[in-house]
């Protein structure tokens, strides 16, 4: 069974520092994320201005390292699977769950169904968990 990871676990994988569970799981299966979670990472990197922002943190780096860090965060590597809306929207629109998932949750559920994956997140989402349960999708919180 494959994995669909959220933005936090995606960052951990990209950094090469996943939890022991995520490392072991990824060594046994393909890993996917969603456009929404990938978008959160890229948007946070690009729009993270102000207190606590990455722009402040990397300001201590020279210009070239700053550019490389932002480029790296904004470009998903090939080894992370990503399915597009042409494939996913018909599945997202047909999800039959007790609660109505929002865009982010619907995309994660659709990717999990199409790729026969378990969903792994760093922070529990009752909405996503409930919808996953309704659809028979595995759901795991990996908070390290």
């Amino acid at each position: 069974m494959s994995l669909v990871v959220d933005d936090h676990l995606l960052l951990d994988l990209l950094l090469g520092s996943p939890s022991s569970w995520l490392r072991a799981a990824s060594e046994q299966s393909a890993v996917y994320t969603t456009g929404s979670w990938y978008y959160r990472v890229a948007l946070a990197a690009n729009r993270g201005s102000g207190v606590g922002a990455i722009s402040r943190r990397i300001s201590t780096l020279d210009t070239e390292p700053q550019r490389r860090v932002l480029d790296w965060l904004g470009q998903l590597p090939d080894w992370i699977g990503l399915l597009g809306p042409r494939l996913l929207v018909p599945v997202m629109a047909g999800l039959d769950t007790r609660a109505q998932p929002n865009l982010l949750a619907a995309e994660a559920l659709a990717v999990a169904l199409v790729t026969d994956s378990e969903i792994a997140v760093a922070t529990n989402s009752p909405l996503l968990r409930g919808c996953a349960l309704d659809l028979g999708i595995g759901y795991r919180v990996d908070s390290r």
């Binding site: 959220d6 960052l11 951990d12 950094l15 393909a30 390292p65 699977g81 790729t115």
Partner: protein, 73 residues
């Protein structure tokens, strides 16, 4: 297909999407070998700190406030 119980229409949509993804080479069966990031130790430490310090979460919380579709709840 797994042992999941889906409505007939949803199961059909999933099968169509799976077939198209397979034909497009977008389904992966191989485990992941996590490559070393192409960044320096200082660069990696900056991003790791961004993630582990809670700064990333705070930025996402603000972005979610602007766009509820990005919320996990």
């Amino acid at each position: 297909m797994s042992s999941r119980t889906l409505s007939p229409s949803l199961a059909a949509a999933v099968e169509r999407a799976r077939s198209e993804a397979l034909a497009a080479g977008e389904l992966r069966n191989s485990p992941v070998e996590i490559p070393a990031p192409p960044l320096t130790a200082d660069e990696l430490a900056t991003i790791a700190d961004w993630r582990s310090s809670g700064d990333y979460e705070r930025i996402v919380t603000r972005l979610v406030g602007e766009d509820p579709d990005l919320a996990a709840q």
